[in-house]
Symmetry: C2
Subunit: 195 residues, 2 copies
DNA sequence: CGAATGACAGATTTCAATATCTGTCATTCG
DNA sequence: CGAATGACAGATATTGAAATCTGTCATTCG
């Protein structure tokens, strides 16, 4: 049922997302969210200890959904170089799409990045972990030079940070961005490959 | 003479730098700068058309001075790989040093980056141009694979952006930063080298 | 005559009063 | 008895009036 008699965290999260989209991260209040649900704002605090925790949960869910395609690529069996390229291109495209289609929630995410780094750090570790898996596969396949995969994964992530880092989202428009990404990718690919 | 009877742009820039350092970019006013010089604020407007132009000139001068060592490395004759590494390390170190030693002027620069991109773009073009020169030398020396030097230079600059981009200056502390830079450099070096 | 001044209008910033919000909790509701 | 309420205190945000600043220009100064 969509209109259950008891209030669930998921319902609150969805309502919060709507309110965030409508009012933006600066204006959205817990009272607004409670009003959207037809309950008192005290009830919201039964499920989330603070507004910050609620915002964090919204962002977490939004981020997980935005990145779900990446996990799939990670566990594929094909050639690692192609998979790594596709993984990075997908990450880049997902961030760009979200920034354009859902600017209010993207702004919320950007705010979160600035104030609460632990959630973001965890996410970044998940992402570099996925890169590490693909690089490991590439080494097994004989496509990539054997190296410390963790170090290499961090390097690949940071070298492409300019293209997926939300703080640079303003520079992601235009065809130049894709050209630039290809140029960096080309360099990284040669760097990872066996001699 | 330090206390000439006529007001020169250089005097204004130096006074502006002092005021900026003392009050920070948000509080410093043209009236403050004029007071520091013992003149009316109208006089300042004889030499600079606007406050924005004055701030831009201050940042320009500060940036030029911060990067002067880079131009020297560019025109050296030694092996390109070592020079490129040193060039990048110098850029990284210079940014980091300025951020720590001169936080108020660094904040001014950061403000400028956000609002007036043309000056910054010009600076960035100068820097990528220098990278291109070194890569070109490397190709001549047979150290680097022949490629479009402009494209490769942009790629190198963007792949290392995370380490010299002022908006990420908060992440430049600790030994992790140097390790990460080395890992990215290693990847880029292999990518540039001849097979 | 060129360089500097200071009064001025409009734009921006400050500041304090007011309103709203966050988070708590004793109480009510089912 | 657990879930929801709404009144409350302290923190934060909004607002509008006053102060300050930016940029101009007719005038003065050397």
């Amino acid at each position: 049922m969509t209109t259950d008699s008891t209030l669930t965290p998921e319902q609150i999260l969805t309502a919060a997302e709507d309110v965030l989209r409508r009012y933006g991260p600066a204006k959205a209040t817990v009272v607004d969210i409670a009003r959207a649900l037809g309950v008192s704002h005290g009830s919201v605090y039964r499920h989330f200890p603070s507004k910050a925790a609620l915002r964090e949960a919204v962002t977490q869910r939004w981020l997980d959904q935005a990145h779900e395609a990446l996990a799939a690529i990670t566990v594929e069996r094909g050639p690692a170089p192609e998979r790594l390229h596709r993984w990075l291109a997908t990450l880049f495209a997902a961030k760009r799409r979200k920034a354009l289609e859902d600017p209010e929630l993207f702004a919320t995410y950007l705010t979160l990045v600035g104030e609460l780094s632990s959630t973001v750090d965890a996410h970044l570790e998940t992402l570099t972990g996925q890169i590490a898996v693909i690089i490991q596969d590439g080494i097994h396949q004989g496509e990539f030079r054997p190296t410390h995969v963790g170090t290499a994964a961090r390097a690949v992530f940071q070298a492409t940070a300019h293209f997926h880092d939300p703080v640079h989202s303003a520079e992601w428009s235009g065809p130049r961005a894709d050209q630039d990404f290809d140029a960096v990718w080309s360099l990284l690919l040669h760097g990872l490959r066996t001699a």
